[in-house]
Protein backbone atom coordinates (compact mmCIF):
# COMPACT_ATOMS: atom_id res chain seq x y z
CA UNK A 1 0.00 0.00 0.00
CA UNK A 2 2.14 2.98 1.13
CA UNK A 3 5.52 1.48 0.36
CA UNK A 4 7.54 4.50 1.44
CA UNK A 5 5.53 5.09 4.56
CA UNK A 6 5.52 1.47 5.54
CA UNK A 7 9.08 0.55 5.06
CA UNK A 8 9.73 3.34 7.55
CA UNK A 9 7.03 2.15 9.92
CA UNK A 10 6.99 -1.57 9.88
CA UNK A 11 9.61 -4.23 9.72
CA UNK A 12 9.39 -7.95 10.48
CA UNK A 13 6.33 -10.19 10.35
CA UNK A 14 3.75 -7.37 10.40
CA UNK A 15 5.21 -5.93 7.19
CA UNK A 16 3.39 -8.49 5.02
CA UNK A 17 0.11 -7.90 6.77
CA UNK A 18 0.43 -4.18 6.12
CA UNK A 19 1.23 -4.77 2.46
CA UNK A 20 -2.08 -6.56 2.03
CA UNK A 21 -4.17 -4.52 4.36
CA UNK A 22 -6.49 -3.11 1.69
CA UNK A 23 -7.24 -6.59 0.44
CA UNK A 24 -8.60 -7.44 3.90
CA UNK A 25 -11.49 -4.96 3.54
CA UNK A 26 -14.04 -6.06 0.92
CA UNK A 27 -15.96 -2.76 0.96
CA UNK A 28 -13.00 -0.71 -0.27
CA UNK A 29 -13.04 -2.31 -3.69
CA UNK A 30 -15.87 -0.41 -5.29
CA UNK A 31 -16.43 2.68 -7.38
CA UNK A 32 -18.59 5.57 -6.21
CA UNK A 33 -19.99 7.81 -8.95
CA UNK A 34 -17.62 6.02 -11.29
CA UNK A 35 -14.51 6.79 -9.21
CA UNK A 36 -12.59 4.49 -6.88
CA UNK A 37 -13.88 4.90 -3.34
CA UNK A 38 -11.60 7.02 -1.15
CA UNK A 39 -13.07 6.51 2.30
CA UNK A 40 -12.00 9.29 4.65
CA UNK A 41 -14.85 9.12 7.17
CA UNK A 42 -13.23 6.70 9.59
CA UNK A 43 -13.82 8.83 12.66
CA UNK A 44 -17.53 8.26 12.10
CA UNK A 45 -17.15 4.55 11.54
CA UNK A 46 -14.42 2.25 10.30
CA UNK A 47 -14.78 -0.58 7.81
CA UNK A 48 -14.68 -4.25 8.71
CA UNK A 49 -11.99 -6.69 7.63
CA UNK A 50 -12.99 -10.06 6.21
CA UNK A 51 -11.92 -11.73 9.50
CA UNK A 52 -14.53 -9.77 11.46
CA UNK A 53 -17.29 -10.35 8.92
CA UNK A 54 -16.41 -14.07 8.93
CA UNK A 55 -16.52 -14.23 12.74
CA UNK A 56 -20.02 -12.79 12.65
CA UNK A 57 -21.22 -15.22 10.00
CA UNK A 58 -19.50 -18.17 11.66
CA UNK A 59 -21.20 -17.43 14.97
CA UNK A 60 -24.67 -17.28 13.41
CA UNK A 61 -24.02 -20.37 11.27
CA UNK A 62 -22.55 -22.56 13.99
CA UNK A 63 -22.86 -21.34 17.58
CA UNK A 64 -25.86 -19.03 17.80
CA UNK A 65 -27.74 -19.55 21.04
CA UNK A 66 -28.64 -17.62 24.14
CA UNK A 67 -25.92 -17.38 26.73
CA UNK A 68 -25.45 -18.20 30.39
CA UNK A 69 -28.56 -20.11 31.39
CA UNK A 70 -28.35 -22.86 28.81
CA UNK A 71 -27.06 -26.37 29.36
CA UNK A 72 -27.09 -27.61 25.78
CA UNK A 73 -24.08 -27.70 23.50
CA UNK A 74 -24.84 -24.61 21.43
CA UNK A 75 -25.62 -22.51 24.46
CA UNK A 76 -22.37 -23.55 26.06
CA UNK A 77 -20.46 -22.73 22.89
CA UNK A 78 -22.16 -19.35 22.63
CA UNK A 79 -21.40 -18.63 26.29
CA UNK A 80 -17.77 -19.58 25.81
CA UNK A 81 -17.53 -17.39 22.73
CA UNK A 82 -19.16 -14.44 24.51
CA UNK A 83 -17.04 -14.74 27.63
CA UNK A 84 -14.00 -15.39 25.45
CA UNK A 85 -14.67 -12.08 23.71
CA UNK A 86 -14.86 -10.37 27.08
CA UNK A 87 -11.48 -11.81 28.05
CA UNK A 88 -10.08 -10.82 24.64
CA UNK A 89 -11.20 -7.21 25.09
CA UNK A 90 -9.75 -7.21 28.61
CA UNK A 91 -6.39 -8.24 27.17
CA UNK A 92 -6.72 -5.64 24.41
CA UNK A 93 -6.77 -2.82 26.97
CA UNK A 94 -4.75 -4.63 29.66
CA UNK A 95 -7.59 -4.73 32.20
CA UNK A 96 -6.78 -6.66 35.37
CA UNK A 97 -9.75 -9.01 34.90
CA UNK A 98 -12.43 -9.81 32.28
CA UNK A 99 -15.12 -8.87 34.82
CA UNK A 100 -14.05 -5.26 34.36
CA UNK A 101 -15.43 -5.32 30.80
CA UNK A 102 -19.12 -4.44 30.49
CA UNK A 103 -20.57 -4.87 27.02
CA UNK A 104 -22.81 -2.00 25.90
CA UNK A 105 -24.15 -0.68 22.59
CA UNK A 106 -21.25 1.73 22.26
CA UNK A 107 -19.51 4.75 23.73
CA UNK A 108 -22.76 6.65 24.17
CA UNK A 109 -24.41 3.91 26.19
CA UNK A 110 -21.21 3.37 28.18
CA UNK A 111 -21.01 7.02 29.23
CA UNK A 112 -24.72 7.09 30.02
CA UNK A 113 -24.37 4.00 32.16
CA UNK A 114 -21.52 5.40 34.23
CA UNK A 115 -23.03 8.91 34.38
CA UNK A 116 -26.42 7.67 35.61
CA UNK A 117 -24.90 5.27 38.10
CA UNK A 118 -22.42 7.83 39.46
CA UNK A 119 -25.08 10.58 39.58
CA UNK A 120 -26.82 8.60 42.31
CA UNK A 121 -23.76 9.20 44.52
CA UNK A 122 -23.44 12.97 43.85
CA UNK A 123 -24.83 15.84 45.90
CA UNK A 124 -25.19 19.60 45.53
CA UNK A 125 -21.77 21.15 46.01
CA UNK A 126 -20.06 18.33 44.11
CA UNK A 127 -18.46 19.16 40.79
CA UNK A 128 -18.36 17.19 37.55
CA UNK A 129 -15.45 18.36 35.42
CA UNK A 130 -15.55 17.97 31.62
CA UNK A 131 -13.59 19.66 28.85
CA UNK A 132 -14.72 22.09 26.18
CA UNK A 133 -13.86 19.59 23.44
CA UNK A 134 -16.19 16.75 24.43
CA UNK A 135 -18.38 14.97 21.92
CA UNK A 136 -22.07 15.39 22.85
CA UNK A 137 -21.93 11.77 24.05
CA UNK A 138 -19.47 12.69 26.79
CA UNK A 139 -21.21 15.96 27.60
CA UNK A 140 -24.99 15.62 27.60
CA UNK A 141 -25.02 12.58 29.97
CA UNK A 142 -22.98 14.67 32.45
CA UNK A 143 -25.35 17.60 32.06
CA UNK A 144 -28.14 15.19 32.95
CA UNK A 145 -26.15 13.79 35.88
CA UNK A 146 -25.58 17.33 37.17
CA UNK A 147 -29.26 18.13 36.79
CA UNK A 148 -30.35 14.94 38.55
CA UNK A 149 -27.93 15.28 41.48
CA UNK A 150 -27.61 19.04 41.95
CA UNK A 151 -23.88 18.83 41.20
CA UNK A 152 -22.22 21.59 39.15
CA UNK A 153 -20.72 20.99 35.72
CA UNK A 154 -17.45 22.79 34.90
CA UNK A 155 -15.14 22.74 31.89
CA UNK A 156 -11.43 22.70 31.20
CA UNK A 157 -10.98 25.40 28.52
CA UNK A 158 -9.56 24.78 25.08
CA UNK A 159 -6.78 27.16 24.03
CA UNK A 160 -6.20 29.04 20.79
CA UNK A 161 -8.36 30.59 18.07
CA UNK A 162 -8.20 27.33 16.13
CA UNK A 163 -8.06 25.23 19.31
CA UNK A 164 -4.44 24.61 18.38
CA UNK A 165 -3.37 24.83 22.04
CA UNK A 166 -5.48 21.89 23.19
CA UNK A 167 -6.59 21.67 26.79
CA UNK A 168 -5.56 24.46 29.14
CA UNK A 169 -3.59 22.32 31.59
CA UNK A 170 -2.56 25.40 33.60
CA UNK A 171 -6.23 25.96 34.40
CA UNK A 172 -6.46 22.49 35.93
CA UNK A 173 -4.89 23.59 39.22
CA UNK A 174 -7.76 25.94 39.90
CA UNK A 175 -10.44 23.63 38.48
CA UNK A 176 -9.44 20.36 40.12
CA UNK A 177 -10.56 21.04 43.68
CA UNK A 178 -11.55 18.37 46.20
CA UNK A 179 -15.17 19.15 45.22
CA UNK A 180 -14.57 17.47 41.87
CA UNK A 181 -16.00 13.95 42.03
CA UNK A 182 -15.79 13.05 38.33
CA UNK A 183 -13.39 14.20 35.62
CA UNK A 184 -14.56 13.11 32.15
CA UNK A 185 -12.40 13.77 29.09
CA UNK A 186 -11.72 12.50 25.62
CA UNK A 187 -8.50 10.75 24.66
CA UNK A 188 -8.47 11.98 21.05
CA UNK A 189 -10.84 14.75 19.95
CA UNK A 190 -13.09 13.72 17.07
CA UNK A 191 -13.07 17.32 15.80
CA UNK A 192 -9.54 18.52 16.54
CA UNK A 193 -7.55 15.31 16.21
CA UNK A 194 -5.42 16.28 19.23
CA UNK A 195 -4.16 13.59 21.59
CA UNK A 196 -4.83 14.58 25.19
CA UNK A 197 -2.34 13.67 27.95
CA UNK A 198 -4.74 11.17 29.49
CA UNK A 199 -2.27 9.55 31.88
CA UNK A 200 -1.57 12.94 33.42
CA UNK A 201 -5.29 13.78 33.54
CA UNK A 202 -6.05 10.49 35.33
CA UNK A 203 -3.25 11.16 37.80
CA UNK A 204 -4.47 14.69 38.49
CA UNK A 205 -8.04 13.41 39.00
CA UNK A 206 -6.83 10.74 41.40
CA UNK A 207 -4.85 13.30 43.40
CA UNK A 208 -8.09 15.08 44.37
CA UNK A 209 -10.10 11.89 44.79
CA UNK A 210 -12.10 12.32 41.57
CA UNK A 211 -13.10 9.44 39.29
CA UNK A 212 -11.54 9.59 35.83
CA UNK A 213 -13.74 8.74 32.83
CA UNK A 214 -12.02 8.49 29.44
CA UNK A 215 -13.91 8.70 26.16
CA UNK A 216 -11.69 6.45 24.06
CA UNK A 217 -14.00 6.34 21.01
CA UNK A 218 -11.37 7.89 18.72
CA UNK A 219 -8.30 6.28 20.27
CA UNK A 220 -9.25 2.65 20.86
CA UNK A 221 -8.68 1.51 17.29
CA UNK A 222 -5.79 3.85 16.57
CA UNK A 223 -3.04 2.75 18.91
CA UNK A 224 -2.14 1.08 22.17
CA UNK A 225 -4.39 1.68 25.16
CA UNK A 226 -3.42 0.31 28.57
CA UNK A 227 -6.03 1.16 31.20
CA UNK A 228 -3.77 0.15 34.06
CA UNK A 229 -0.77 2.13 32.84
CA UNK A 230 -3.10 5.12 32.45
CA UNK A 231 -4.60 4.59 35.89
CA UNK A 232 -8.08 5.11 34.45
CA UNK A 233 -11.21 4.44 36.51
CA UNK A 234 -13.69 4.18 33.60
CA UNK A 235 -13.05 3.95 29.85
CA UNK A 236 -15.78 4.02 27.19
CA UNK A 237 -15.46 2.97 23.55
CA UNK A 238 -17.35 1.66 20.51
CA UNK A 239 -16.63 -1.46 18.50
CA UNK A 240 -17.56 0.06 15.15
CA UNK A 241 -14.70 2.55 15.18
CA UNK A 242 -12.12 -0.23 15.65
CA UNK A 243 -13.07 -2.59 12.81
CA UNK A 244 -15.80 -4.24 14.89
CA UNK A 245 -19.55 -4.32 14.22
CA UNK A 246 -22.02 -1.59 15.10
CA UNK A 247 -24.17 -2.14 18.16
CA UNK A 248 -21.40 -3.29 20.47
CA UNK A 249 -19.19 -1.25 22.76
CA UNK A 250 -17.50 -1.39 26.10
CA UNK A 251 -17.45 0.27 29.45
CA UNK A 252 -14.31 -0.62 31.33
CA UNK A 253 -14.52 0.01 35.07
CA UNK A 254 -12.04 -0.80 37.81
CA UNK A 255 -13.33 -3.83 39.68
CA UNK A 256 -13.31 -2.15 43.09
CA UNK A 257 -15.54 0.62 41.69
CA UNK A 258 -17.94 -1.61 39.80
CA UNK A 259 -18.61 -3.68 42.90
CA UNK A 260 -19.90 -0.56 44.66
CA UNK A 261 -21.85 0.83 41.73
CA UNK A 262 -25.62 0.36 41.62
CA UNK A 263 -27.04 -1.20 38.44
CA UNK A 264 -28.58 1.03 35.84
CA UNK A 265 -30.96 -1.28 33.98
CA UNK A 266 -32.50 -4.22 35.75
CA UNK A 267 -34.12 -7.46 34.58
CA UNK A 268 -33.09 -10.96 33.63
CA UNK A 269 -29.47 -12.08 33.64
CA UNK A 270 -28.26 -9.57 36.24
CA UNK A 271 -29.88 -11.03 39.34
CA UNK A 272 -28.92 -13.83 41.73
CA UNK A 273 -32.27 -14.37 43.43
CA UNK A 274 -35.63 -12.76 42.93
CA UNK A 275 -38.81 -12.95 44.97
CA UNK A 276 -42.00 -10.89 44.66
CA UNK A 277 -40.59 -8.29 47.02
CA UNK A 278 -37.20 -7.69 45.44
CA UNK A 279 -33.97 -8.98 43.98
CA UNK A 280 -30.25 -9.41 44.69
CA UNK A 281 -27.76 -8.27 42.05
CA UNK A 282 -25.03 -10.38 40.52
CA UNK A 283 -21.54 -8.92 40.68
CA UNK A 284 -20.03 -7.06 37.72
CA UNK A 285 -20.08 -7.43 34.79
CA UNK A 286 -23.47 -9.25 34.73
CA UNK A 287 -24.95 -6.66 37.10
CA UNK A 288 -24.71 -4.14 34.26
CA UNK A 289 -25.86 -6.41 31.44
CA UNK A 290 -29.59 -6.93 31.93
CA UNK A 291 -31.36 -8.96 29.27
CA UNK A 292 -29.98 -11.01 26.39
CA UNK A 293 -26.68 -9.43 25.43
CA UNK A 294 -25.43 -8.70 21.92
CA UNK A 295 -23.56 -11.99 21.73
CA UNK A 296 -22.68 -12.13 18.02
CA UNK A 297 -21.32 -8.61 17.83
CA UNK A 298 -19.27 -9.13 21.00
CA UNK A 299 -17.72 -12.22 19.42
CA UNK A 300 -16.90 -10.26 16.26
CA UNK A 301 -15.41 -7.49 18.40
CA UNK A 302 -13.02 -10.09 19.76
CA UNK A 303 -12.02 -10.84 16.17
CA UNK A 304 -11.43 -7.11 15.60
CA UNK A 305 -9.06 -7.09 18.59
CA UNK A 306 -7.14 -9.97 17.00
CA UNK A 307 -6.97 -8.16 13.69
CA UNK A 308 -5.65 -4.90 15.14
CA UNK A 309 -3.12 -6.62 17.37
CA UNK A 310 -1.82 -8.58 14.39
CA UNK A 311 -1.23 -5.33 12.50
CA UNK A 312 0.50 -3.97 15.57
CA UNK A 313 -1.04 -1.14 17.51
CA UNK A 314 2.09 1.01 17.82
CA UNK A 315 2.38 0.65 14.02
CA UNK A 316 -1.26 1.67 13.58
CA UNK A 317 -0.65 4.76 15.74
CA UNK A 318 2.40 5.71 13.67
CA UNK A 319 0.52 5.15 10.42
CA UNK A 320 -2.48 7.24 11.48
CA UNK A 321 -0.22 9.99 12.80
CA UNK A 322 1.85 10.02 9.61
CA UNK A 323 -1.26 10.31 7.41
CA UNK A 324 -2.77 13.05 9.59
CA UNK A 325 0.50 15.01 9.54
CA UNK A 326 0.79 14.64 5.77
CA UNK A 327 -2.81 15.70 5.25
CA UNK A 328 -2.31 18.70 7.53
CA UNK A 329 0.77 19.73 5.57
CA UNK A 330 -0.84 19.32 2.14
CA UNK A 331 -4.11 20.98 3.14
CA UNK A 332 -2.20 23.94 4.60
CA UNK A 333 -1.27 24.92 1.06
CA UNK A 334 -4.90 25.50 0.03
CA UNK A 335 -5.88 29.18 -0.19
CA UNK A 336 -8.10 30.44 2.62
CA UNK A 337 -8.13 27.20 4.59
CA UNK A 338 -8.55 27.28 8.35
CA UNK A 339 -7.27 24.12 10.02
CA UNK A 340 -8.34 23.19 13.53
CA UNK A 341 -6.35 21.51 16.27
CA UNK A 342 -2.61 21.03 16.75
CA UNK A 343 -0.33 22.86 14.29
CA UNK A 344 2.22 20.98 12.17
CA UNK A 345 4.37 18.81 14.41
CA UNK A 346 1.78 18.73 17.24
CA UNK A 347 0.29 15.60 18.81
CA UNK A 348 -2.35 14.71 16.22
CA UNK A 349 -3.66 11.32 15.17
CA UNK A 350 -6.11 10.07 12.60
CA UNK A 351 -7.93 13.16 11.40
CA UNK A 352 -7.86 16.72 10.17
CA UNK A 353 -10.77 19.12 10.18
CA UNK A 354 -10.90 22.39 8.33
CA UNK A 355 -13.09 25.23 7.10
CA UNK A 356 -13.12 27.83 4.35
CA UNK A 357 -14.64 31.27 4.73
CA UNK A 358 -16.72 31.12 1.53
CA UNK A 359 -17.34 27.46 0.84
CA UNK A 360 -19.53 25.56 3.23
CA UNK A 361 -18.70 22.07 4.47
CA UNK A 362 -21.83 20.56 2.97
CA UNK A 363 -21.05 21.86 -0.48
CA UNK A 364 -17.55 20.43 -0.11
CA UNK A 365 -18.83 17.03 0.97
CA UNK A 366 -21.34 16.87 -1.89
CA UNK A 367 -18.65 17.77 -4.43
CA UNK A 368 -16.01 15.45 -2.99
CA UNK A 369 -18.52 12.60 -3.06
CA UNK A 370 -18.72 13.03 -6.84
CA UNK A 371 -14.97 12.34 -6.89
CA UNK A 372 -15.50 9.18 -4.85
CA UNK A 373 -14.14 10.84 -1.70
CA UNK A 374 -16.20 10.21 1.45
CA UNK A 375 -15.83 13.08 3.95
CA UNK A 376 -17.94 14.38 6.80
CA UNK A 377 -19.19 17.94 7.13
CA UNK A 378 -21.03 19.41 10.06
CA UNK A 379 -20.61 20.09 13.74
CA UNK A 380 -19.34 16.56 14.48
CA UNK A 381 -21.51 16.37 17.63
CA UNK A 382 -19.42 19.19 19.03
CA UNK A 383 -21.74 22.19 18.89
CA UNK A 384 -20.43 24.12 21.93
CA UNK A 385 -16.84 23.92 20.69
CA UNK A 386 -17.87 24.97 17.18
CA UNK A 387 -19.67 27.98 18.63
CA UNK A 388 -16.62 28.89 20.70
CA UNK A 389 -14.47 28.79 17.57
CA UNK A 390 -16.99 30.90 15.67
CA UNK A 391 -17.90 28.08 13.29
CA UNK A 392 -21.09 26.24 12.47
CA UNK A 393 -19.41 23.37 10.68
CA UNK A 394 -16.14 21.98 9.42
CA UNK A 395 -15.14 19.37 6.89
CA UNK A 396 -13.33 16.41 8.37
CA UNK A 397 -11.03 13.88 6.70
CA UNK A 398 -10.26 10.93 8.95
CA UNK A 399 -7.87 8.09 8.28
CA UNK A 400 -7.41 4.46 9.11
CA UNK A 401 -5.13 1.53 8.48
CA UNK A 402 -6.17 1.12 4.83
CA UNK A 403 -5.78 4.75 3.78
CA UNK A 404 -2.84 5.76 1.65
CA UNK A 405 -0.78 8.82 0.86
CA UNK A 406 -2.18 8.72 -2.68
CA UNK A 407 -5.68 9.10 -1.27
CA UNK A 408 -4.63 12.34 0.40
CA UNK A 409 -3.55 13.59 -3.03
CA UNK A 410 -6.99 12.67 -4.40
CA UNK A 411 -8.57 14.62 -1.55
CA UNK A 412 -6.43 17.69 -2.14
CA UNK A 413 -7.04 17.63 -5.89
CA UNK A 414 -10.78 17.34 -5.29
CA UNK A 415 -10.72 20.27 -2.86
CA UNK A 416 -8.80 22.38 -5.39
CA UNK A 417 -11.51 21.72 -7.98
CA UNK A 418 -14.22 22.66 -5.50
CA UNK A 419 -12.51 25.91 -4.53
CA UNK A 420 -12.09 26.78 -8.16
CA UNK A 421 -15.74 26.10 -8.88
CA UNK A 422 -16.87 28.38 -6.07
CA UNK A 423 -14.43 31.03 -7.22
CA UNK A 424 -12.23 30.93 -4.15
CA UNK A 425 -9.01 29.88 -5.84
Amino acid sequence: MNPALHSALVAGPAADRWKNVRADFPILHQDVHGKPLVYLDNAATAHKPRAVIDALVRFYERDNSNVHRGLHALSMRATDAYEGARARVARFINAADPSEIIFTRGTTESVNLVARSVAATLRPGDVILCTEMEHHSNLVPWQQAARASGATLEFVPVLGTDAEGGLDLAALDALLTPHVKVFAFTHISNTLGCINPVAELCRRARAVGALSVIDAAQSIGHGPLDVRALGADYVAFSGHKMCGPTGIGVLYGRRALLDKLAPDETGGGMVVTVDYAGAKWKPAPERFEAGTPNVADAVALGAACDYLDALGRPEIARHDEALAALAYEKLSALPGIRLLGPRAGGARRGLVSFAFADVHAHDIVTFADEDGVALRGGHHCNQPLMRKLGLTSTTRASFYVYNTEQEIDVLVASLRRILKFFGSA
Binding site: H33, V359, A361, H362, D363, T366, E370, G378, T392
Partner: protein, 151 residues
Protein backbone atom coordinates in the same frame (compact mmCIF):
# COMPACT_ATOMS: atom_id res chain seq x y z
CA UNK B 1 -18.31 17.78 -13.11
CA UNK B 2 -21.24 15.38 -13.27
CA UNK B 3 -24.58 16.34 -14.76
CA UNK B 4 -26.29 15.92 -11.39
CA UNK B 5 -23.87 18.30 -9.74
CA UNK B 6 -24.20 20.98 -12.39
CA UNK B 7 -27.98 20.60 -12.08
CA UNK B 8 -27.65 21.14 -8.34
CA UNK B 9 -25.34 24.11 -8.52
CA UNK B 10 -27.12 26.10 -11.23
CA UNK B 11 -25.86 29.54 -12.16
CA UNK B 12 -28.84 31.16 -10.42
CA UNK B 13 -27.92 29.38 -7.21
CA UNK B 14 -24.24 30.24 -7.41
CA UNK B 15 -25.15 33.83 -8.10
CA UNK B 16 -27.47 34.12 -5.10
CA UNK B 17 -24.87 32.41 -2.95
CA UNK B 18 -22.14 34.85 -3.98
CA UNK B 19 -24.32 37.96 -4.02
CA UNK B 20 -27.20 37.31 -1.66
CA UNK B 21 -30.20 39.64 -2.01
CA UNK B 22 -31.87 41.22 1.02
CA UNK B 23 -29.20 40.02 3.36
CA UNK B 24 -28.88 41.56 6.79
CA UNK B 25 -31.13 42.63 9.63
CA UNK B 26 -34.22 44.72 8.94
CA UNK B 27 -34.47 47.57 11.47
CA UNK B 28 -38.15 48.11 10.68
CA UNK B 29 -39.12 44.45 11.07
CA UNK B 30 -42.24 43.64 13.03
CA UNK B 31 -41.88 39.87 12.68
CA UNK B 32 -38.74 37.75 13.15
CA UNK B 33 -38.25 34.01 12.98
CA UNK B 34 -35.23 31.77 13.31
CA UNK B 35 -34.75 28.54 11.40
CA UNK B 36 -32.14 25.92 12.04
CA UNK B 37 -31.12 22.65 10.53
CA UNK B 38 -29.66 20.71 13.45
CA UNK B 39 -28.05 18.02 11.32
CA UNK B 40 -25.88 20.54 9.46
CA UNK B 41 -25.82 23.47 11.83
CA UNK B 42 -27.31 25.71 9.12
CA UNK B 43 -29.02 28.78 10.52
CA UNK B 44 -31.35 31.32 9.00
CA UNK B 45 -33.07 34.35 10.52
CA UNK B 46 -35.90 35.97 8.59
CA UNK B 47 -37.03 39.55 9.27
CA UNK B 48 -40.39 40.77 7.96
CA UNK B 49 -42.21 44.05 7.93
CA UNK B 50 -45.84 43.17 7.46
CA UNK B 51 -48.09 45.86 6.15
CA UNK B 52 -51.57 44.52 6.85
CA UNK B 53 -51.32 40.95 5.63
CA UNK B 54 -48.69 41.70 3.00
CA UNK B 55 -44.91 41.37 3.26
CA UNK B 56 -43.75 44.95 2.69
CA UNK B 57 -40.10 44.25 3.37
CA UNK B 58 -38.06 41.15 4.05
CA UNK B 59 -34.45 40.28 4.80
CA UNK B 60 -32.50 37.30 6.08
CA UNK B 61 -29.17 36.44 7.63
CA UNK B 62 -27.49 33.32 8.92
CA UNK B 63 -24.94 30.83 7.74
CA UNK B 64 -25.03 27.64 5.80
CA UNK B 65 -24.25 25.89 2.57
CA UNK B 66 -24.64 27.42 -0.88
CA UNK B 67 -28.01 25.74 -1.33
CA UNK B 68 -29.51 27.06 1.92
CA UNK B 69 -28.14 30.58 1.50
CA UNK B 70 -29.10 30.88 -2.16
CA UNK B 71 -32.55 29.49 -1.48
CA UNK B 72 -33.17 31.97 1.34
CA UNK B 73 -31.93 34.81 -0.85
CA UNK B 74 -34.11 33.85 -3.80
CA UNK B 75 -37.06 33.26 -1.49
CA UNK B 76 -36.88 36.87 -0.24
CA UNK B 77 -37.15 38.15 -3.81
CA UNK B 78 -40.15 35.92 -4.49
CA UNK B 79 -42.28 36.56 -1.42
CA UNK B 80 -41.95 40.32 -1.15
CA UNK B 81 -45.34 41.99 -1.68
CA UNK B 82 -47.25 38.76 -1.13
CA UNK B 83 -49.78 37.74 1.50
CA UNK B 84 -49.47 34.77 3.83
CA UNK B 85 -51.71 32.45 1.76
CA UNK B 86 -49.82 33.44 -1.40
CA UNK B 87 -46.50 32.60 0.24
CA UNK B 88 -47.88 29.26 1.38
CA UNK B 89 -48.98 28.40 -2.11
CA UNK B 90 -45.59 29.44 -3.49
CA UNK B 91 -43.89 27.25 -0.91
CA UNK B 92 -46.00 24.28 -1.98
CA UNK B 93 -44.81 24.82 -5.55
CA UNK B 94 -41.21 25.12 -4.38
CA UNK B 95 -41.47 22.02 -2.23
CA UNK B 96 -42.82 20.10 -5.21
CA UNK B 97 -39.90 21.30 -7.34
CA UNK B 98 -37.19 20.25 -4.87
CA UNK B 99 -38.74 16.90 -4.05
CA UNK B 100 -39.83 15.82 -7.52
CA UNK B 101 -37.46 17.68 -9.83
CA UNK B 102 -40.48 18.73 -11.90
CA UNK B 103 -40.53 22.38 -12.88
CA UNK B 104 -43.68 24.48 -13.22
CA UNK B 105 -45.05 25.53 -16.61
CA UNK B 106 -44.63 29.25 -15.96
CA UNK B 107 -41.08 30.57 -15.96
CA UNK B 108 -39.72 30.95 -12.45
CA UNK B 109 -36.30 31.25 -10.85
CA UNK B 110 -37.50 28.70 -8.32
CA UNK B 111 -37.01 26.08 -11.02
CA UNK B 112 -33.26 26.47 -10.51
CA UNK B 113 -33.68 24.28 -7.44
CA UNK B 114 -35.04 21.28 -9.35
CA UNK B 115 -31.59 19.64 -9.20
CA UNK B 116 -31.90 19.32 -5.42
CA UNK B 117 -34.23 16.34 -5.78
CA UNK B 118 -31.36 14.00 -6.73
CA UNK B 119 -29.64 14.92 -3.44
CA UNK B 120 -32.32 14.08 -0.84
CA UNK B 121 -30.02 15.07 2.04
CA UNK B 122 -30.00 18.63 0.68
CA UNK B 123 -33.78 19.19 0.50
CA UNK B 124 -33.73 20.47 4.06
CA UNK B 125 -31.09 23.02 3.10
CA UNK B 126 -33.30 24.36 0.32
CA UNK B 127 -36.41 24.68 2.49
CA UNK B 128 -34.84 26.20 5.61
CA UNK B 129 -35.44 29.89 4.76
CA UNK B 130 -38.98 29.11 3.64
CA UNK B 131 -39.80 27.45 6.94
CA UNK B 132 -38.52 30.48 8.84
CA UNK B 133 -40.64 32.81 6.69
CA UNK B 134 -43.78 30.74 7.14
CA UNK B 135 -43.22 30.80 10.89
CA UNK B 136 -42.64 34.55 10.87
CA UNK B 137 -45.90 35.01 8.94
CA UNK B 138 -47.77 32.93 11.48
CA UNK B 139 -46.19 34.98 14.25
CA UNK B 140 -44.97 31.67 15.61
CA UNK B 141 -42.41 32.34 18.29
CA UNK B 142 -41.11 28.78 18.12
CA UNK B 143 -37.98 28.30 16.04
CA UNK B 144 -38.47 26.69 12.69
CA UNK B 145 -36.47 23.53 12.47
CA UNK B 146 -36.02 20.97 9.78
CA UNK B 147 -36.13 18.22 12.38
CA UNK B 148 -38.89 17.48 14.80
CA UNK B 149 -37.24 17.69 18.17
CA UNK B 150 -38.22 18.03 21.80
CA UNK B 151 -36.04 19.36 24.55
Amino acid sequence: MSADLSELYQQVILDHNKRPRNRGKLPTANRVAHGDNPTCGDQCNVYLRLDGDRIAEISFDGSGCAISQASASLMTTQVKGRTGPEVESLYRQFHHIVTSGETPDEISDLAAFAGVHTFPARIKCATLGWHATLNALKGDAADATTEKHTD
